[in-house]
C-alpha cells in the first residue's frame, strides 16, 4: 500500500523527523517499507523553463526546435511533443538530470542533425501521472529558473508499505499514523467532523434493514441530496494520484479518499435507483447472476451476501457495486454505504468470483466496526465542503449487536519469559496506550487492557507481547551469546540417504533434483498416479510415481544439448495411490516413499589413445548397483532375480530383493518408452527403495585378520549348453566343493562355431585356501578333480583342453 508522508502528517506530529528515519523505524516495527520516493530528492534538478521560440525541425516532421530560457541562459532543445508552443512555462530537465520514469540521464544529444541541450518533460516522464500525450504545461504564476520542488510543491515522500495479513488496521493513513505515534511517542489525532446538515431528515429519505446479521453486523449510511457530479478539486486529485489512484469524479474520489484515510471502504448508490429508497442486506438463497458496475456478468453461489433495494440486488456486499445502481453524471441524490461485513463471508465470495477489489481486500481482513459511522460522516462532510451537495440530517445506522472491545491480561513477568529481556514497565504501558489500548485494571504484576475494535489481531497476552516487542524494537532486545542445550539423544534421519549420496558420487554419478510434478502420461508409466486438484498446467498435473520418468526427461534434455555420456542419480520421494482406494481420505490411502535412481547412457569409456571406447551395458548398471549395495553392507542380505518379461518398461531387468520383497528394480529401458521422451540411444537405470532399505539391518562390520597362509589357484573351462546360466553354474560349483574353495570367478566367456551349435565356453578361476594352515597339493587336487567330475556330469559339460 502506498502512503503519502504529507498526508500522514495530518494525523501525527512527525514534522521534524527525517524521511530516512521514518522509513527505518516503520520497517523495524513491522510495517516494511519496500520502496520509497522522496520527491525533493527525485526532482531536485528539474527547473521551470520558458519556451521563447519554436521552429520546425528541418529533418523531422514531428520534432520542434525550441529555445528554452532557464532564467540564466537560452538553450536549444529538441521537443517531440505535439502541444509545445512558444510562451509556455514548462518543466525543464537540464543536462545531467535523471528522468524518474526509466531512470535515464539527460545528455547533450544530436537529434537528426540538430543539437539539443536538455529535455522538456511530460507528466509521465516525471511519474506524476500516466499522461504522456504531451509535455506538462505549467501555470503562468510559476517562476522561471526555480526548482520545481518549490514551485510545484513536490515535497512529499511516497512510501510503499507491505502490510502483513494480521494488520488490517494499517491499511490506511490513520492506521500507519497510529503506529508512528507509538514508535516516536508523538501526538495523534483523528480528522475533525462537523457537517452542515440540511433540514431533510435521513429517515424520511431512505431506510436500512439487515436480514443476514451474522454476515453484516453493522450497516451505516448517510444521504446527500442535490449532488453535482464533476471533477474533483486539485488538492483531492493530487492526494489520490500521489498514492497511485486515478481520479474519476468528486463522489468516487471522496469515497476513495476516505478508504485510504480511515480504512473503511465506502460505496455510493444512486438513491433514486434504489427501489423504495431501501437497503436490505441478505444472502442469496440460490445460485444467481448479477451484473457488476464493470458491466461483467457474475455467477453468484448460494449464500453470497448481497446489498438489495426493495426489490432486487444492487451490489455484491463488500466486493463490488452493481451496474443498476451506479452513480453517473445525472445522479442527483446518493446514499453512502459504510458497513462492517463478516471477513470470512467476503473472502468466500471474493474467492468464488475470482474478484478481488480494494474493498474486498480490506473487508476480508476486517474493518473497524466502531468506525463505520465516522467514515460515512467524513465522506458526507467532504462532499458538503466541496459545495457539491446537501447532507441530509442524521444517519442510518443499523447495528443490531454491538461488537465489544476485548479485554486482555498482561503479566509483566511473562513479557520477560518470552523475550528473555525485561522491558521497563513504564515503556510497556506507554507503547500500548499509544496504540489505542486502555487500562481497565492494574496491579504490581499485571495489567488488564481494553483493545480497540480496529485491532482484531490483539486477543491474547502473546499478541500484546508482540506489540511491545515490535514497537520497542527487536534490535533493542539483546542477542545472547551463550546457550545451554540438553545432552539427550540426537537423531539424524537424513544420515542414510546422505551415505547413499556420497557413495553415488564416488561411483561417478552426478546428482539431479527434479520437479515431482509431471504430466499424466509420465506418471502413468510407473505406478498408480495421484492427481493435483488445481495444477498450473497439464504438464504438472500429477505427482511422480517413480523417479524414472523425470530422469529420462533429464537425459532427453541433455542429449539435445550434445551431452551424450551421462551418469546421473537422484534421491527423492515418489507418490502412489494405494490399489483399491478410490480417493485419498487418510494417510493409509497412499504411499509416499523415498527412492534412489541410477541412470546411465552413452559410453562408460570414451575412446582415447590408450583406451578403447565402451558403451554402457547392463553389466555396468548391475556393477554400480552392487558396488553401492556392498558399500552399505547389504550384499549378503539381498538377492537378485533376473527377468526378460514383456510386461515392463524394460527390455530386460533385475530386481534386488529382501526375502521375497522387492527393494529395487532396473535394467535396459524399452525403445517404446524412450520414444516418448525422444531418446534415441540406449538407457539403463535402476531404482532402489530407500524407505525399505533403511529398515533392513546391515551385516555388522567385523575385523578379519589378514590371511597368513598361501592361496592356491586352479582354472578350468567347460563347454556348456547355451541355456545354462552363469548363476546356475556358480551355485553348483559352490555347492559341490568343500569349504576350502573360497571364491570362483568367471574370467572368460564365448560362443563359437568350433564349440558346436548352441554351445558356449565358460572359464572359471577357483581360489582355495584355509585360514588355519597351508593346504597340501593333494587335498586341493582331490577337491578340484571331484568338482570337474561333478560339473561334467551335472551339466553334461565338456572340460576343455583335457
Amino acid at each position: 500500500m502506498k502512503v503519502s508522508l504529507n498526508w500522514l502528517k495530518d494525523y501525527v506530529d512527525i514534522g521534524n523527523i527525517s524521511i530516512p528515519e521514518i522509513i527505518h523505524k516503520l520497517t523495524m516495527s513491522g510495517l516494511e517499507v519496500e520502496d520509497s520516493i522522496d520527491e525533493a530528492e527525485l526532482y531536485k534538478d528539474f527547473i521551470v523553463g520558458y519556451v521563447k521560440d519554436k521552429k520546425k525541425h528541418p529533418n523531422a516532421d514531428k520534432l520542434s526546435i525550441c529555445t528554452v530560457n532557464t532564467g540564466t541562459e537560452d538553450l536549444q532543445v529538441i521537443c517531440g511533443a505535439p502541444n509545445v508552443e512558444a510562451g509556455q512555462k514548462i518543466v525543464f530537465a537540464p543536462i545531467g538530470t535523471i528522468i524518474p520514469n526509466g531512470k535515464f540521464k539527460i545528455n547533450k544529444a544530436k537529434i537528426r542533425g540538430v543539437e539539443s541541450f536538455g529535455m522538456i518533460c511530460s507528466e509521465a516522464e516525471l511519474e506524476l501521472s500516466n499522461d504522456h500525450s504531451g509535455i506538462m504545461i505549467l501555470k503562468q504564476e510559476v517562476n522561471i529558473g526555480k526548482s520545481i520542488v518549490k514551485e510545484l510543491g513536490l515535497d512529499d515522500a511516497i512510501l510503499e508499505i507491505a502490510i502483513t495479513p494480521n494488520r488490517s488496521d494499517a491499511l490506511s493513513h490513520i492506521g500507519v499514523a497510529r503506529d508512528l505515534a507509538s514508535i516516536f511517542d508523538k501526538g495523534f489525532h483523528l480528522p475533525e467532523i462537523s457537517i452542515q446538515e440540511s433540514t431533510h431528515k435521513v429517515k424520511e429519505l431512505a431506510s436500512v434493514e439487515i436480514i443476514d446479521k451474522i454476515n453484516c453486523p453493522r450497516y451505516s449510511a448517510k444521504v446527500v441530496q442535490n449532488v453535482t457530479i464533476k471533477e474533483s478539486p486539485e488538492w483531492l486529485k493530487k492526494r489520490l494520484t500521489k498514492i497511485g489512484l486515478r481520479p474519476i469524479n468528486n463522489i468516487v474520489d471522496v469515497t476513495n479518499f476516505v478508504m485510504y484515510e480511515l480504512g473503511q471502504p465506502l460505496h455510493a448508490f444512486d438513491l433514486d435507483k434504489l427501489e423504495g429508497q431501501k437497503i436490505v442486506v441478505r444472502s442469496t438463497e440460490a445460485e444467481s447472476v448479477f451484473t457488476t458496475l464493470d458491466s461483467k456478468e457474475r455467477k453468484l453461489p448460494k449464500g453470497t451476501l448481497m446489498i438489495c433495494d426493495g426489490e432486487k440486488p444492487v451490489a455484491i456486499a463488500g466486493v463490488m457495486g452493481g451496474e443498476n445502481s451506479e452513480i453517473n453524471n445525472s445522479t442527483k441524490n446518493i446514499l453512502i454505504e459504510s458497513a462492517h461485513f463478516n471477513p470470512s463471508s467476503i473472502r468466500r465470495t471474493s474467492k468464488a468470483l475470482g474478484l478481488s477489489t480494494e474493498a474486498s481486500y480490506r473487508f476480508e481482513r476486517w474493518v473497524d466496526p466502531s468506525a463505520t459511522l465516522l467514515a460515512a460522516e467524513r465522506a458526507a462532510q467532504l462532499i458538503a465542503n466541496l459545495g457539491d451537495g446537501e447532507v441530509a440530517h442524521g444517519a442510518l445506522d443499523c447495528y443490531p449487536e454491538k461488537i465489544k472491545e476485548k479485554e486482555v491480561l498482561l503479566r509483566f513477568d511473562r513479557v520477560s519469559k518470552i523475550l528473555g529481556y525485561q522491558i521497563p514497565k513504564e515503556k510497556i504501558i506507554q507503547i500500548l496506550k499509544k496504540l489505542g489500548l486502555k487500562i481497565v485494571f492494574e496491579s504490581e504484576k499485571e495489567y488488564r487492557f481494553l483493545v480497540p475494535t480496529y485491532r482484531p489481531d490483539l486477543e491474547r497476552e502473546i499478541d500484546l507481547i508482540e506489540e511491545i516487542a515490535r514497537i520497542y524494537g527487536y534490535d533493542n532486545i539483546p542477542t545472547i551469546s551463550k546457550i545451554s542445550i540438553s545432552l539427550g539423544e540426537k537423531i539424524d534421519e537424513s544420515a542414510f540417504e546422505d551415505t547413499i549420496r556420497d557413495h553415488s558420487c564416488s561411483l561417478g554419478f552426478y546428482e539431479m533434483v527434479n520437479n515431482p510434478l509431471q504430466k499424466e502420461q509420465f506418471a502413468s508409466l510407473t505406478g498408480n498416479k495421484i492427481q493435483i486438484l488445481n495444477p498450473q498446467s497439464l504438464d504438472m498435473a500429477f505427482l511422480r510415481t517413480s523417479l524414472i520418468p523425470g530422469a529420462l526427461g533429464v537425459i532427453a534434455q541433455n542429449l539435445n544439448v550434445g551431452e551424450k555420456d551421462l551418469r546421473l542419480f537422484e534421491i527423492g520421494n515418489v507418490f502412489n495411490q494405494n490399489f483399491g482406494k478410490e480417493e485419498i481420505k487418510s494417510f493409509d490411502d497412499f504411499t509416499e516413499v523415498q527412492k534412489h535412481i541410477f541412470i546411465l547412457t552413452g559410453r562408460i569409456n570414451e575412446k582415447m589413445w590408450n583406451t578403447a571406447e565402451k558403451p554402457v551395458d547392463f553389466y555396468d548398471l548391475k556393477g554400480f548397483v552392487n558396488s553401492l549395495i556392498i558399500k552399505i553392507s547389504l550384499d549378503n542380505v539381498l538377492n537378485d532375480s533376473y527377468y526378460h518379461n514383456e510386461d515392463s518398461i524394460f527390455d530386460f531387468y533385475f530386481t534386488k530383493n529382501y526375502d521375497k520383497e522387492e527393494v529395487g528394480i532396473g535394467g535396459k529401458v524399452k525403445k517404446e518408452v524412450l520414444k516418448q521422451f525422444d531418446i534415441q540411444q540406449d538407457v539403463y537405470c535402476f531404482e532402489l527403495d530407500l524407505t525399505k532399505l533403511k529398515k533392513i539391518k546391515a551385516n555388522p562390520k567385523k575385523f578379519v585378520e589378514p590371511l597368513k597362509y598361501p592361496k592356491s589357484i586352479r582354472d578350468f573351462a567347460f563347454i556348456f549348453d547355451n541355456y545354462v546360466t552363469y548363476e546356475e553354474v556358480i551355485k553348483f560349483i559352490k555347492k559341490s566343493s568343500s569349504e576350502l574353495l573360497k571364491s570362483v570367478k568367471l574370467f572368460d566367456l564365448f560362443e563359437s562355431e568350433s564349440l558346436g551349435k548352441n554351445k558356449k565356453s565358460m572359464a572359471f578361476s577357483l581360489e582355495y585356501f584355509s585360514e588355519e594352515r597351508t593346504l597340501t597339493e593333494e587335498e586341493i587336487e582331490k577337491d578340484f578333480n571331484n568338482l570337474i567330475e561333478a560339473v561334467t556330469k551335472n551339466f553334461s559339460a565338456i572340460l576343455r583342453g583335457a
Binding site: S344, E466, P478, I480, R501, C505, N534, N558
Partner: protein, 337 residues
C-alpha cells in the same frame, strides 16, 4: 709363460671391449674377465704356482692388468648406463590421461549439507516428514484459520479438500511435537510446493530448512543468538544483521532476519532491491495456539521456530540469477559444483 698370457689377455680384453654395445654384452664381458671364475681370477690362481723370484714381478703386472681392465670396464659401464637412462625419456609424458569421474551432489544439496552441519554442531537433530500432507498439519495445527487471508501467503497445490502438497516444512514441527515431549531441538529439511508462476525468481517446488526448539525457558533473545551464530558461520564472521517484525500464523512474536547485502556491502544493488539488506529467514516464538494443538502446556513451555529457503540461499551464495537452473539438471551445470 704366465707373462705371455697376461699380455694376451690384455690384448683380447681390448679387442672384446671394443665390440661391446650394450649393458647385456658388458655383463658377458664382466663374466668372462672379472667374475670369480673369470680369466683374471684364473691368472691370480696360477700365480700361486710361480717361483719365488717371479712372484713379486708377475704379481705387480697382474695387479696392473686387473686395475686396468676394471677401470676400462667401469668407464664403459657408466657410459652405457647413461645411454640406458636416455631411453626412458622416450615416453611423452604430456600425453592426455584418462581421468576417472567423481560425481557430485546437487548444489542445493551441498548448500543444505552446509546448513545441516552447522545446526548439528549446535545440538539439533535432523528430522524428515512427508511432502503430501494433511490440510490440518500444514495449516490448521499451525494456526492458519480456515477462510483466513493468511492462507494467501502460501498458494497451495491441493489433492482434495483434506490433503495437499505441503507449502512449508513447518508441518514437521507438528509431527515431532505430537510424538515427543519437550525438550525438542531439531531442524527439518525438505521439499515444499507453492502454486506460483514459474519465473527466474520463483519455482513451484523448492527446499526449506525448518528449525524448532521447545523447552522450559526458551526466549526470543536466545533465538536471536542462535540464528546470528548460524549466519556468522554460514555467511561470514563479520556480517551485520537485523531482526524485523513480521507475521507468521504459527509464531508470535514473528521476525524476519536480514543480513547486509554481501554483493553491494549495504550500499544498495539490484539483488537487495536497493535496500542494502537481504532477507535470509523467517522466525519467531512458537504461538501458544500451536502448543495447544499438540497438547503442550503453553504456560510451562516456550519455544522458537525458524525457516529458510535453500534455493534463495544458494542463489545468493553462488551468484546465480535464475532459480530454474536448479531444476533443469543441465549436465554442464551439474558438473560445475
Amino acid at each position: 709363460m704366465l707373462d705371455e698370457r697376461i699380455k694376451k689377455i690384455n690384448v683380447d680384453f681390448n679387442q672384446d671391449i671394443s665390440t661391446v654395445n650394450d649393458i647385456k654384452q658388458l655383463e658377458e664381458l664382466r663374466l668372462k674377465y672379472l667374475s670369480r671364475n673369470g680369466l683374471v681370477s684364473q691368472l691370480f690362481d696360477e700365480l700361486k704356482n710361480a717361483s719365488k723370484e717371479e712372484k713379486p714381478v708377475l704379481g705387480k703386472v697382474l695387479n696392473t692388468l686387473r686395475n686396468d681392465i676394471t677401470e676400462k670396464f667401469n668407464t664403459l659401464k657408466i657410459h652405457l648406463d647413461s645411454l640406458e637412462k636416455e631411453s626412458v625419456e622416450k615416453y611423452d609424458l604430456s600425453l592426455p590421461s584418462f581421468e576417472r569421474t567423481i560425481g557430485s551432489k546437487h548444489l542445493l544439496i551441498q548448500t543444505l549439507d552446509e546448513i545441516k552441519s552447522i545446526f548439528k554442531g549446535l545440538g539439533f537433530s535432523v528430522i524428515e516428514g512427508p511432502e503430501l500432507e494433511s490440510d490440518f498439519n500444514n495449516f490448521g495445527a499451525l494456526n492458519f484459520p480456515p477462510d483466513h487471508p493468511a492462507r494467501d501467503m502460501q498458494d497451495t497445490f491441493f489433492i482434495n479438500s483434506e490433503f495437499l502438497l505441503r507449502t512449508h516444512t513447518s508441518p514437521v514441527q507438528i509431527r515431532i511435537m505430537e510424538k515427543t515431549k519437550p525438550p525438542v531441538r531439531a531442524i527439518m529439511p525438505g521439499r515444499v510446493y507453492r502454486n506460483e508462476a514459474i519465473s527466474s525468481r520463483s519455482y513451484c517446488v523448492f527446499h526449506q530448512v525448518e528449525g524448532l526448539y521447545v523447552d522450559n525457558d526458551v526466549t526470543f533473545a536466545e533465538l536471536k543468538g542462535t540464528l546470528v551464530a548460524f549466519a556468522r558461520q554460514f555467511y561470514g564472521e563479520n556480517l551485520k544483521y537485523r531482526f524485523r517484525p513480521s507475521f507468521f500464523p504459527f509464531t508470535e512474536p514473528s521476525a524476519e532476519m536480514d543480513i547486509t547485502c554481501f554483493l553491494c556491502h549495504g550500499k544498495g544493488c539490484k539483488v537487495c532491491k536497493h535496500s542494502g539488506w537481504l532477507e535470509i529467514l523467517g522466525c519467531g516464538m512458537v504461538d501458544p495456539n500451536v502448543f495447544d494443538n499438540v497438547n503442550y502446556d503453553h504456560e510451562q513451555y516456550t519455544g522458537y521456530a525458524f525457516g529458510m529457503g535453500i534455493e534463495r540461499t544458494a542463489l545468493l551464495k553462488y551468484g546465480i540469477d535464475d532459480i530454474r537452473v536448479f531444476f533443469d539438471n543441465d549436465f554442464r551445470f551439474l558438473k560445475q559444483f
